[in-house]
């Protein structure tokens, strides 16, 4: 705009103001220029004040004005673009489905958060700014660490310019509900490095899906176990039928011969056949007794009648029963009963049953001219240790775990030679456990095996709930097995028992917590899917409550999801079906070895 300074009824100054208002570059010309007017015009925003007498100056002034105008327009465009972009960003931030939070590390509070964050934490926009990281986090993280401590470390690292990889964090909303989440944190440029932006992924839905998935797998496995149990029962029935028919064949066949007069009463065969009938009858009786005992013990209806006993006498009786068998195979049977073991109170017939099972088993598997030792020694002040050692064929490590489990007769060809129902050892285990003891075996293939039972010196009387495994106290390392599935529990228990650990069993999370409050365990094996709560909940409440602060915990799970256990300090994660060696190695690594604690 070029305007004259002297315009009748309308001053040059007003013209300049009008031009500036419309963002125009203004040049003022005057016939009578003076300095005051020039200053006033320039102050009002004119670009130039020229004398009409000097027209040669007009051209450069106009060129300048045009240049300035172009620049200004470009600046205005840029400003407008910036505004649009900011608005766009703002709506993306506000409407993002993920919760986004801008946090001031120095002031330790939220600067800005989008609507998703408001919904997640259940706060109003006004409450947002009062949110601190402490208020937004559960007091303790899933692994028991103090949230404030961890958050401070994290803040220091971020403030120090270190990037932080996405991590899991237990948040809490304004109502106190815990929100497992994954946090993605970036440092914002500028602001002295005090601002971070955090995207929050709510993991609750994912966790639920994981649980459903795990439950599905669990159910499938359970189904498979039921099918397998059913198969084992059928197999057991077939076995029983076979084992019952075998002595019956001799009984009926020989009786028929004697009865029909085919064998004369005064022949030597007559006597011999009668002897065969008798021993077959006894074998049959033994078989039936074992089956009935097993049924009773399974139903928890087995009675124990403890009375003061003399161990040496009981051992002598057992050895006498097996004397013929031992003599036939020229096996030396050694006995040793520690004389300091006095004041023993236990059910003599049940004790003999267990010792007999061990001994007859040892005799079966020991070759001619071998040696079998039966020993009873003190264990601590209130237990005794019964050991039966043989120089037999030994048992493959893979088969050790199945020895004490019902219906699990070893399929090895040599084992089949020795008649049995697959019940003797399983029954022995049940009998010992029902009296508050444990059983175990150590074996070297080709060199021999040692079966043992640990029993209290003074047994409690009456029928007991037999499924409850008892505590071994005297300095023995004791592991708490938290597992609701019986087969899995047996697998862990037999593994532990074999190498000399003691154990207690908890079938529910509540039971596990109660037991941990009662006593200190050397380690815990933890199933993640318990009937009443998740294994993590158990772990959390024990760690937080201080009941399990330093105790190694080994997670035994169907789906070993390392990520989901990452936040918890566990000593190992093992997959089902359990690998025995892996369990023992995990315990070893955690520093829990089967030998008694020193000074115990």
């Amino acid at each position: 705009m070029i305007t004259d300074w002297m315009i009748p009824g309308f001053g040059g100054l007003q013209a300049v103001e009008l031009g500036r208002k419309h963002e125009l570059s203004c040049i003022v010309i005057s016939g009578t220029p003076n300095e005051d007017e020039a200053v006033a015009a320039l102050r009002a925003g004119a670009l130039d004040f020229l004398s009409k007498d000097r027209p040669m100056r007009f051209v450069p002034a106009i060129e300048r004005a045009l240049r300035e105008s172009t620049e200004r327009r470009a600046r205005l465009d840029a400003e407008r673009d910036l505004r649009t972009s900011e608005e766009r960003y703002r709506s993306a931030f506000e409407l993002a489905p993920e919760a986004l939070v801008t946090y001031d590390l120095a002031a330790r509070h939220v600067l800005d958060a989008n609507r998703a964050a408001q919904r997640l934490f259940r706060v109003t926009p006004a409450e947002l700014r009062s949110l601190t990281l402490t208020k937004m986090s559960a007091p303790r993280q899933a692994d028991g660490r103090d949230s404030a401590v961890v958050a401070r470390e994290l803040g220091d690292r971020l403030a120090g310019g270190v990037d932080v990889a996405p991590f899991e964090w237990l948040l809490v909303d304004s109502t106190g509900e815990q929100i497992p989440a994954e946090l993605h944190v970036v440092r914002l440029a500028g602001h002295d490095g005090r601002l971070i932006r955090c995207a929050i992924v709510d993991l609750r839905e994912r966790r639920k899906l994981e649980q459903v998935r795990q439950r599905t797998i669990e159910l499938e496995l359970q189904n498979r176990r039921i099918v397998e149990a059913n198969r084992l029962k059928s197999e057991f029935l077939a076995n029983m039928s076979h084992e019952l028919r075998t002595p019956l064949n001799a009984i009926i066949g020989f009786s028929e011969l004697l009865h029909s007069g085919a064998v004369s009463a005064d022949s030597s065969e007559h006597d011999e056949f009668l002897g065969d009938i008798l021993s077959s009858g006894r074998h049959l009786l033994q078989l039936i007794n074992d089956v009935l005992d097993l049924a009773k013990v399974e139903a928890g209806k087995l009675d124990f009648r403890p009375e003061p006993v003399e161990l040496a006498k009981l051992v002598g009786e057992i050895v006498a029963i097996t004397r013929t068998t031992a003599a036939t195979k020229r096996i030396t049977v050694e006995t040793e009963v520690d004389p300091s073991l006095t004041g023993i109170v236990l059910d003599p017939s049940r004790f003999k049953q267990v010792a007999y099972n061990f001994l007859s088993n040892a005799l079966k598997f020991t070759p001619e001219a071998g040696r079998v030792s039966i020993r009873i020694t003190p264990r601590g002040t209130d237990q005794l240790l019964l050991e039966v050692e043989d120089t037999g064929v030994g048992i493959a490590p893979a088969d050790l775990g199945r020895l004490f489990i019902e219906f699990q007769q070893l399929e090895a060809g040599t084992a089949k030679r020795h008649q049995g129902t697959g019940l003797g050892l399983a029954l022995s285990r049940r009998l010992v456990e029902a009296q508050g003891g444990t059983v175990g075996v150590k074996s070297t293939l080709g060199a021999g095996s040692t079966f043992h039972a640990i029993l209290p010196r003074v047994a409690a009387g009456g029928a007991r709930v037999v499924r409850r495994a008892q505590t071994a106290r005297n300095g023995e390392r004791t592991i708490l097995i938290v597992e609701d599935d019986e087969r899995d529990r047996d697998a862990v228990a037999s593994t532990l028992a074999q190498v000399g650990y003691g154990f207690e069993v908890a079938r529910t999370g509540a039971d596990a917590i109660a037991r941990c409050k009662e006593r200190v365990f050397d380690a815990v094996t933890l199933d993640l899917l318990l009937p009443d709560m998740s294994g993590f909940d158990v772990l959390e409440s024990l760690r937080v409550g201080g009941w399990l602060r330093d105790t190694p915990v080994i997670v035994v799970t169907i789906v070993p999801d390392m990520k989901s256990t990452a936040g918890f300090s566990v000593s190992g994660v093992l997959q089902k079906p359990l690998d025995r060696d892996a369990l023992l190695i995990a315990l070893e690594r955690a520093g829990v070895r089967p030998e008694p604690r020193s000074g115990a």
Partner: protein
């Protein structure tokens, strides 16, 4: 006199069956496992075998399968004599190549009839 090989790992049962089969008028050879049985088959070539199924090592079914694939033993009658008496056990025995199947406890008369059915000559007078 026809020869019968009795295979059974249970000493008492072996004694009983041996006594019975001898009383029927046959010559009896015995074996307590597959290896001895194979040796006896080679040396005496029996007319029939009374085969227990549950044996240590190679079981009666496997032993029968082997005998039935060998040209010079496949014609020997194999009679399963077993305490496996559940559904499907007979089918298993016959599938392995057994010519007949009997369960324990044995009935002496049935045993005599079954052997006679598979041994052409030299059977005892009924």
């Amino acid at each position: 006199m026809s020869r019968i090989l009795i295979v059974d790992d249970n000493a008492t049962n072996l004694k009983l069956v041996t006594f019975l089969v001898k009383s029927f008028g046959y010559h009896v050879v015995t074996a307590v496992d597959a290896d001895t049985a194979l040796a006896e088959v080679r040396s005496c070539v029996p007319d029939a075998i009374l085969m227990d199924i549950q044996l240590p090592g190679i079981d009666g079914l496997e032993l029968t399968r082997r005998l039935k694939t060998e040209p010079h033993t496949r014609d020997i009658a194999v009679i399963a004599l077993t305490a496996y008496a559940m559904k499907g056990d007979r089918e298993k025995a016959l599938a392995a190549g057994c010519d007949d199947y009997m369960t324990k406890p044995i009935d002496a008369r049935t045993l005599r009839d079954v052997i006679a059915r598979h041994v052409r000559d030299g059977g005892p007078p009924s």
